[in-house]
Symmetry: C2
Subunit: 298 residues, 2 copies
């Protein structure tokens, strides 16, 4: 079903979308088979959902409500129609969850599956919440899952498919879309989609804002399910939580006096300076996922 | 340089673009190396220009002015940085020609080069000119080149690089961007970007409008340069003109009483019925380029 603001849907040279407050938020992400997903680890339906989720979360991270998306799909000619249908079905499922829809697309042939998604959003009259507005004295808070996708990936790499809740978190992230506009309405000073990992994206936020961020490790939620899986693998779940990407939670800063909206957890503080510390010290280890050629606008 | 309506440029989770009349036109196209372009036939700079041109022409075909674009670029890890720079340079050159700019992107690794472009546009308060508004009695008119890209492709397929004007027309199309809004202002009832070929796209327009179109072959301009090349190859230039795609000219219908804007040439008439004829008869031969999986919204 096409979203309510669709003034002209697919089938013409271009679509036309309402932009109620005379602005439109726009973001684009590309997912490549073998790099961003594997069809032996995820179904095409799951890949379709994940491709949309990554973009919808970027819109939410501006404090905006996703309105519509366009999709470019490059697939090998030998790809079964059922695979393309399942990809599309997953895409529609995920966009339907936020009341958005797909208003345009292009399907072409290629050597491997490449999915490019552009998502548009509505700021509902508010200023965009950028990465650059955090100020010393703000509190840092998170909404959404941390470390689940990394844990699921670790299980898949071991050839395991369970526990389904953990593996499923890698296959289809569950970004807290509504929390983005909610945080904006509550006065968030800065916000970012956690796609590269908590520490890495806190670093992006700190750098853009010209501040330092200190994370209180005791405040970072580590889900019991992840501890269980980590114990079985003989690793530390905390590493997934601090450095694992692709859960697409939202990380935001709020003025200290703000009553955090429901679902948000305070993780730390914004201070004068530069960089990210955990309990006042630099974190030892790789902070997160820095994708080849990433331009920081994912 | 970022376009004037850029409220927030690249570098954040998403960009923010002004949409002055509370609507935004959006279209997306994907180009794949080996399918849509060959780097032994075109330079990366030319490919960058062509990728943007295809999308900018789609925006123009709605009667809109392109405002901004986002680009997804998937490139093999072995690709020289100079190639990516040249692609980007071509993209910026072409967008600059219409006063638009690139406000977001994503660069990822892949097995082959895949360029996905999403273009946004401003209708300037006018209704979009769709493919579906042509009425019996309208005149059919074209603006822009016909057959040049096909002629250039024919030369490249022969291993030839000249004449440069013809080969160059395949490498970098020259869509008449300003003619789109101009036609809309003049009262065009329907319009389409000629990406698949004159007859094929006239067919799309006729089908969407529920009308028939008859093209007067004597009225279809055949450039002297194309006749010269066709003669050398021993083929008929008229075939390129009627069926060759990728020049991204604009094909539009106007009420019969309309004084056609400068640069537009009347080609035929809209009638009751279905389908496209040339001089009252069905055209013998393949009407144009129907790409694998094309969804008609290119």
């Amino acid at each position: 079903m096409l979203p309510p603001g669709t003034l002209l849907g697919p089938g013409d040279d271009a679509a036309v979308l309402a932009a109620a407050d005379a602005r439109v938020v726009v973001t684009t992400d590309v997912l490549v088979e073998g790099v961003h997903f594997r069809l032996d680890w995820s179904t095409p339906y799951q890949v379709g959902r994940k491709a949309m989720a990554a973009n919808l979360a970027d819109v939410a991270a501006m404090g905006a409500v996703p309105t519509a998306l366009v999709v470019g799909l490059a697939v090998p000619g030998r790809t079964p129609v059922s695979t393309v249908d399942a990809l599309a079905s997953g895409m529609w499922e995920e966009t339907g969850r936020v009341g958005a829809g797909i208003i345009g697309g292009d399907v072409v042939s290629s050597a491997e599956i490449v999915i490019s998604v552009t998502a548009l959003g509505d700021l509902r009259g508010r200023a965009p919440v950028t990465r650059g507005g955090a100020r010393a004295g703000d509190v840092l808070a998170v909404c959404g899952r941390l470390g689940w996708s990394a844990a699921g990936l670790a299980m898949l790499r071991q050839g395991l498919r369970s526990p389904p809740a953990v593996v499923g978190a890698h296959q289809v992230p569950q970004p807290p879309y509504a929390a983005g506009p909610q945080a904006a309405a509550a006065g968030a000073t800065a916000m970012i989609d956690i796609s590269d990992g908590l520490l890495a994206d806190a670093g992006h936020l700190a750098e853009a804002s010209g501040v330092a961020i200190d994370i209180d490790s005791a405040a970072v939620p580590v889900a019991a399910e992840l501890v269980e899986v980590a114990t079985a693998l003989g690793v530390d779940a905390r590493r997934w939580v601090l450095t694992g990407g692709e859960d697409h939670g939202l990380l935001a800063c709020f003025p200290a006096a703000t009553a955090l909206p429901a679902g948000w957890t305070q993780l730390g503080l914004v201070c004068e300076g530069r960089g990210v510390t955990v309990d006042g010290r630099p974190y030892r280890g790789r902070a997160g996922w820095a994708h080849f050629g990433s331009r920081g606008d994912r």
